[in-house]
């Protein structure tokens, strides 16, 4: 190039062939700087090449490689070559194609040569469709910053168009522009990183109240967008099966995860990432995926502390699509964040499960019941809520007869039945001991009675022993038709359950709501009443049993004419029934469970002993009164057969008192 042929706009000092670029940078027009700074990295590099080619029209091909990893360079801009024919090369390939010294490479010295086409040296072959100028001239200019080559400019032309003068000019022109290109390149890298970090941060900051699936969906949509993929899947390996838990972008109707063969799955499980830039050539490709247009895949494993492996699968319909080194690293961070979020959700789920689950039966516990009851009754959506309470009949005797392990096993089976066979949407809970609850939500056409009987039938199929089955008392109440708040709903269901239990035992509750337990009491001054009272104290009968004992004593004394009816001692109806029931057992053997369907109430067993003692110590026609000792011996002789030995023992403990009473 002669002085006259130099570009008018860019008349720069010449540099001798192979010489170092002049340190004095030529002035770059302000308008060009402005345009460079406004563009993306690709646009800025392309603009630079355009400027070069505009000023040096004899250049046949121009390439700008930019570092994208520790060893890799990406073709950021090119002129004179078919688009897409080149993408990445290793730094070593560029370095070996540079025929200057290693020091010159590292020092950013432009090198001009007249060897074969520069790309043939870089790639080992001439890319298809590329013209080779004869005689050839190649210029390679490494751009250095922070002691590292970060970009490489390569030019190819006929030797007459690319001589030492042109090389010198290019060196100076590029040295003036390089800081701007570097600025644009770093800015874009920082912006990309900021976008990724923002997406990762958003994922980690997501409200834990949101469903995990939605959170992950958002995350992989971001990963798809930022990585330049066309679609993505978040998958989990379950044995040899693969389950998709979130998906985004292209191919929503395709089973893209089927591209992961067993061998690929093993690689992922061992922590390997997999890139398939040419799925169309992959030997184990799935024809349906290939036909649908799948061309490249990138799969990143997400390993958790447990044995579970999940993976982020990104794909494209373009050949050779793979995330660059920076994107791979940021995808790795995103994948790690997804792993953290999933682990946290799993932990929260486990904690919630533990906090709201009865460990024995697997049903909801009392805390879960109270929470759900409040939630359901706080709604005003017009739907009906049925609270059903269930209580196992005679569970204490099952415990006593078969032991706690068997009784616990029954509860486990009951939990299993409720979990497996409950109606869809019905929620079952163990409130404690042998008390259970069901919360049933439905429309106004719901038939609670029918549902209740269905549940009762289900549970009463559970076998306790060869010949006996569980018995269940239940009660229910309906919100909002019967009651309008949670507390009353619970109370009413409890009352109903209690009534049902009493009915199933052939009796009504002892203490109907109209009569409080403490409201009835009686003291009669008869020997039988006094003895029964003392025995009740020794045996520590509870208040309810004492009332039944007093009431039955009262009825008995009335019947024997030893007491007169009194309005003060008017018995509540329920207590009257219970007292009459005690009197019915008066002549039965104390342990008549085999004959009767239930055991004799304790009050009856106490009254049996007391009545026999009082009768024995009083004279009757044809028989003198027995002494306390004789009466005690007579009773002791029938302990176990006729009398409850525990009550007999209690009677013996009153021996002194009995003697005093007899003397009085």
């Amino acid at each position: 190039m002669s002085e006259e042929r130099l570009p008018r706009r860019l008349r720069l000092p010449r540099v001798p062939s192979g010489a170092r670029a002049n340190k004095a940078r030529p002035a770059v027009p302000a308008a060009l700087i402005d345009r460079l700074l406004k563009g993306s990295t690709t646009a800025s590099f392309e603009l630079t090449l355009d400027e070069l080619l505009h000023e040096l029209p004899g250049i046949a091909q121009a390439f700008f490689w930019v570092r994208q990893g520790p060893h890799q360079f990406y073709l950021q801009a090119a002129r004179g070559v078919p688009k897409g024919s080149l993408e990445e090369v290793l730094e070593s390939s560029l370095k070996s194609a540079y025929l200057g010294s290693a020091e010159d490479w590292q020092g950013g010295v432009a090198h001009l040569d007249n060897q074969q086409h520069i790309l043939e040296r870089v790639l080992g072959l001439q890319p298809a469709g590329l013209s080779v100028e004869e005689p050839p001239a190649n210029l390679t200019l490494p751009l250095v910053a922070d002691r590292q080559v970060w970009a490489v400019l390569q030019l190819h032309a006929q030797a007459q168009h690319l001589g030492p003068d042109e090389a010198g000019w290019v060196g100076q022109f590029v040295s003036g522009i390089a800081p701007i290109l570097r600025e644009v390149y770093l800015r874009e890298q920082a912006e990309r990183k900021a976008l990724w970090l923002s997406a990762i941060n958003a994922l980690l900051q997501t409200s834990r109240e949101q469903p995990l699936e939605l959170v992950l969906q958002d995350a992989i949509e971001e990963a798809t967008r930022l990585s330049g993929a066309e679609g993505a899947r978040l998958i989990v390996f379950e044995g040899h099966a693969i389950r998709t838990i979130a998906q985004a972008g292209w191919g929503s109707g395709l089973v893209v995860e089927a591209a992961i063969t067993r061998q690929l799955g093993e690689r992922l499980r061992s922590g390997q990432q997999v890139g398939i830039p040419r799925y169309d050539l992959y030997p184990n490709r799935r024809p349906e995926l290939f036909e649908a247009g799948l061309r490249s895949l990138f799969i990143l494993p997400i390993l958790r502390q447990s044995s579970e492996t999940s993976a982020l699968l990104l794909f494209s319909t373009q050949r050779h699509w793979l995330p660059d080194a920076q994107t791979q690293e940021l995808l790795g961070d995103m994948a790690a964040a997804i792993g953290v979020v999933r682990a946290e959700w799993a932990l929260r789920r486990e904690l919630a499960w533990a906090a709201y689950t009865d460990p024995l039966t697997g049903l909801g516990n009392r805390r879960a019941f109270e929470r759900d009851l409040e939630k359901l009754t706080a709604r005003t959506n017009g739907r009906m809520v049925v609270l059903m309470l269930l209580d196992l009949d005679g569970f204490k005797s099952i415990n006593d007869t078969y032991g706690h392990i068997h009784a616990d096993h029954l509860l486990v089976r009951l939990g299993g039945v409720l979990r497996a066979r409950a109606r869809a949407g019905d929620r079952a809970y163990r409130l404690g001991g042998d008390e259970f609850a069901l919360l049933i939500e439905g429309s106004s056409t719901l038939d609670p009675q029918r549902i209740a009987e269905r549940y009762r039938a289900l549970l009463e199929e559970i076998r306790v022993s060869d010949s006996t089955y569980l018995k269940v008392s239940l009660g229910y109440a309906v919100f909002p038709t019967e009651v309008t708040d949670a507390q009353n709903l619970w109370r009413r269901a409890d009352d109903q359950m209690y009534k049902d239990k009493a009915l199933r035992k052939g009796r009504t509750p002892l203490f109907a709501p109209v009569l409080e337990p403490a409201q009835w009491g009686l003291q009669l001054d008869t020997p039988l009443f006094r003895l029964a009272d003392r025995l009740a104290q020794v045996l520590k009968l509870d208040w309810e049993e004492q009332q039944v004992l007093q009431a039955s004593c009262y009825l008995l004394e009335l019947a024997l004419g030893r007491a007169m009816p009194t309005t003060e001692a008017q018995l509540p109806e329920a207590l009257l029934r219970e007292a009459a029931r005690v009197l019915m057992y008066l002549q039965s053997p104390w342990d008549a469970r085999e004959l009767l369907s239930e055991s004799i109430p304790r009050a009856a067993r106490v009254l049996q002993v007391a009545l026999h003692y009082i009768t024995a110590t009083q004279p009757t026609e044809g028989r003198a009164a027995r002494s306390p000792e004789e009466a005690l011996e007579e009773i002791a002789a029938q302990a176990h057969q006729r009398f409850d030995p525990g009550v007999v023992e209690a009677l013996y403990s009153l021996k002194v008192w009995l003697s005093d009473q007899s003397a009085a």
């Binding site: 070593s92 070996s96 080992g124 997999v274």
Partner: protein
């Protein structure tokens, strides 16, 4: 071999690349081994790099049902031939390779030559 004497090689096409994931490498210090699958015309080349106590080990296997024979050689950046071995279909071979460099693999099978470029050795 100098650049101007490079014969016309069929370029190996990278089909699959598998290596330790960056996040896994950072947290577990896993070695930088890799495995790649290339297509050479109608053949496949399974190539992997393992790092054991003796250093990097390059292992390869030509996957084809046809009984092919030839030679494979490893060439350094400076064109020095580092290793040379017999090549047979479905038979594994391995080369010890210098750490921290970039090499290329040349294969000559019958009348065909193939090259795998840019083999990065950590």
């Amino acid at each position: 071999m100098t650049p101007d004497t490079i014969p016309q090689y069929g370029e190996a096409i990278l089909i699959m690349d598998s290596r330790s994931a960056p996040a896994i490498v950072r947290s577990h210090s896993t070695c930088e081994s890799w495995n790649r699958l290339y297509k050479l015309d109608n053949l496949y080349l399974d190539l992997s790099l393992k790092i054991d106590e003796s250093g990097p080990l390059l292992m390869g296997k030509l996957l084809t049902p046809n009984p092919l024979e030839g030679r494979v050689r490893l060439v350094a950046e400076n064109q020095d031939v580092l290793q040379d071995a017999e090549l047979r279909a479905m038979r594994a071979w391995h080369f010890r390779v210098p750490a921290g460099g970039v090499c290329r693999l040349e294969m000559h099978l019958g009348g065909h030559s193939f090259v795998v470029r840019s083999l990065d050795i950590p």
